[in-house]
């Protein structure tokens, strides 16, 4: 079975995607700024918006869609209305009040811009201008040069954050400026990405565990812009995947000693995973999320510098000797899988060592859940013989590569080389010269809630969004901002009671320079009992 077919056979998980509340929501701060209000001709409202939007660019970091753009006089908050009408008798003209939100433009420019849309005085009760042939008021700037209308600007306060609940929305509407409360999208209007990626993530996680090189944690990095529409069509999501990585915490030899994977070779899953012993946990740079980030970085280095050594069987900079596994290399060095599925290898007996995936895959009728590496490589395996000799590793002080560690994998990994041609593969990872910068605008799907270290690594990499299944919540995680279920008032004396844990909600904290959207995936039919992190047998850092 080949990987393209195997990943395309994945079926979506059904369930619900829930935004992880931010600590601002669980402990909401209120942040306000000045805005202007101006009274304009009601009929010119749409022109006013166009003029404002084209003249004064918005600050992309401010999402102010919760603020009403226009408010009729009778809907003005009482304090605002009082201030506006103070010393000014309300006109009888048909007018509406427009909000000029932060960042505030120059007052003179603003008034010049708004002048054409000033309310049409009707105090003289003259009928509409004689020239009017239709019902519409003057189209062009009302050229009444005798007294160019000066629109007064009233300064008010508005909330920079959308309201978190209806009470807050009502309060602001009555006292500051009318706001829209959208309970479904507390922090964003970005639709959560397709649920099928949750399946891919599980598959990668299983591969990590089955390889014996790490715990069963997997991460999938996706470019949401690659999806043409919101459908979960498999051919589309495959195209959107940038890189996948599994946990590899047992893969690194330390202090000249064999790695835990080497020590327990053939035992699946690795017996060390049955407990948490810090000395045997590798390190966070071997966690799935960190490895996925480094795969993107390494691929980008290759795109940017052709002279750089290609990624062979190691992640030299951060992976600490972790080898690429079949799914990882498939997505990183993609052959044009949609057009020409890689042929199946017909010589399984020549396979250097059978990978340990004998268990039938519940999702597949085929016995081989994860294919042999050979199926990933380019059609002509003879190409592997033409692979260039390995260049020297990059001038990093920490490149760790022990080719003797997994001699059986050497053949396979070197045969990945031919496909590692930067000119033809994975163009989604743009070179720095093409604007590629870290993991900007990418989303990451991960099978477990990432640890604090990885959560911050995600922010430092500028991801757009992170999503993990609720059943993968970890007591050691960095994203949740509150317990998944309200803890029972009576504690049953479990070890959990020893120390209070902290919920960091790191994906979105005001104090930190970078933020990402956070989502939890709650599988259909998942009981409340499944939701609590206490359910996880062994607490470790994912």
């Amino acid at each position: 079975m080949d990987i393209p077919l195997s990943v395309r056979g994945l079926t979506p998980l059904t369930g619900e995607v829930i935004p992880i509340r931010t600590v601002q929501e669980t402990r909401p701060p209120e942040e306000f700024a000045d805005a202007y209000v101006a009274e304009v001709n009601l009929k010119a409202a749409s022109k006013v918006v166009k003029a404002l939007d084209s003249a004064f660019p918005k600050d992309p970091s401010l999402t102010l869609s919760h603020l009403r753009r226009f408010v009729k006089r009778e809907r003005l908050p009482a304090p605002v209305r009082a201030a506006i009408e103070d010393g000014q008798s309300p006109t009888t003209a048909q007018t509406i009040f427009v909000l000029i939100a932060p960042p505030l433009p120059d007052v003179d420019k603003l008034q010049t811009l708004l002048a054409p849309f000033a309310p049409i005085p009707t105090t003289t009760s003259t009928p509409p201008t004689p020239s009017s042939t239709t019902d519409t008021p003057p189209e062009t700037p009302a050229i009444d040069t005798s007294s160019p209308p000066q629109i007064p600007l009233h300064t008010i306060k508005v909330s920079l954050q959308p309201p978190f609940n209806s009470h807050q929305a009502e309060t602001w509407t009555e006292t500051l400026w009318p706001v829209i409360f959208n309970p479904a999208a507390p922090r964003s209007t970005v639709a959560p990405p397709p649920s099928i990626l949750n399946r891919a993530r599980e598959k990668v996680a299983r591969e990590a565990e089955q390889s014996g090189l790490g715990r069963g944690v997997g991460a999938v990095i996706v470019d949401p812009a690659s999806r043409e529409d919101g459908e979960d069509r498999s051919d589309q999501w495959v195209q959107a995947v940038i890189s996948v990585a599994g946990d590899a915490r047992y893969s690194r030899p330390e202090g000249g000693q064999p790695s835990q994977a080497e020590l327990h070779r053939g035992k699946i899953p690795n017996p060390v995973s049955g407990s948490y012993n810090a000395d045997l946990e590798g390190g966070p740079e071997l966690h799935a999320l960190m490895r996925a980030i480094d795969l993107v970085a390494h691929r980008r280095r290759e795109e940017g510098h052709r002279a750089q050594p290609p990624l062979t069987d190691i992640i030299a900079s951060a992976g600490g000797g972790a080898k690429l596994r079949p799914l990882e290399s498939f997505f990183l060095y993609r052959l044009d899988s949609s057009a020409t599925p890689a042929p199946l290898s017909q010589s399984p007996s020549s396979s250097p060592k059978k990978r340990k995936h004998e268990e039938p895959n519940p999702e597949s009728s085929s016995a081989a859940a994860v294919p042999d590496l050979k199926t990933v490589i380019s059609p002509s395996s003879s190409q592997s013989q033409t692979a260039p000799p390995l260049p020297a590793p990059p001038p990093s002080t920490i490149a760790i590569h022990d080719p003797t560690l997994h001699p059986t994998d050497a053949h396979c990994s070197s045969s990945i080389l031919p496909s590692a041609n930067p000119t033809t593969t994975n163009p989604r990872i743009r070179a720095p010269s093409q604007g590629g910068y870290l993991c900007t605008d990418l989303d990451v799907y991960i099978s477990h809630e990432p640890c604090i270290c990885c959560s911050m690594g995600m922010l430092l990499s500028r991801f757009r969004a992170v999503i993990f299944p609720r059943k993968g919540r970890m007591a050691s995680g960095g994203l949740a901002s509150e317990p998944a279920v309200v803890p029972a008032p009576v504690d049953d004396g479990q070890e959990q009671s020893t120390e209070e844990r902290v919920y960091y909600g790191l994906h979105w904290r005001k104090e930190l320079n970078w933020r990402a959207l956070g989502f939890e995936f709650v599988e259909e039919g998942e009981g409340a009992a499944d939701a609590s992190e206490e359910k996880t047998d062994i607490v470790f850092h994912a």
Binding site: R252, E254, G255, G256, Q257, Y276, A278, D279, L280, E281, G282, G283, P284, E285, M290, I293, D294, V296, A297, H298, R300, R301, S317, A318, G320, S396, T397, I398, I400, P432, G435, G436, Y437, L438, C439, T440, C451, I452, C453, C454, M456, G457, L460, S461, R462, S476, G478, E499, E500, R501, V502, Y504, L506, R509, E511, L512, N513, V539, F540, H541
Partner: protein
Amino acid sequence: MDMEDFPNMPDAAKHAAFMKEALQMGEKALHSGETPVGCVLVYNDQIVAWGMNDTNRSLNGTRHAEFLAIAEMLQTYPRSALASTDLYVTVEPCVMCASALKQYRIRRVYFGCANERFGGTGGVLTLHSDPSIDPPYPVHGGLFQKEAIMLLRRFYIQENERAPNPRPKKNRELNTRFEDDENVLPA
């Protein structure tokens, strides 16, 4: 040598020597176009690993000095040795590194200047002392903090041509003044 930063610390000269090594790594980072943060790991009173920021070269925003030093140390020492190892780093570890150091069970952390934007050991969060599945570790800040800050200032008056929208900084001047108790990163 500026010893006023830790007058009451026993073995002040020793700490100063290690921190100066870390500062030298920071200098090296600056000359490589990296955010100038440097560190050393000290095991049995010996420096066993050096690290400096490597995010720009590697195109990986997680390649902070601490990770490079730890990886270097683990080439020679088992992970368990980190429990008897101290870190000297010019800038307070960020949230990511503070968590990593805890997972690695570092014995103690000495840092130069605080990191009010990303700091994980007091600057923003207090991961070193928060409850977790790993034991807490003590931190000591303020060693050669002026030197550490000056390194950063020298870096931040440069333009970051790698950023998607570099900000022009032609008119900026290196600020060499210090308020009395300043311990913050330059803006």
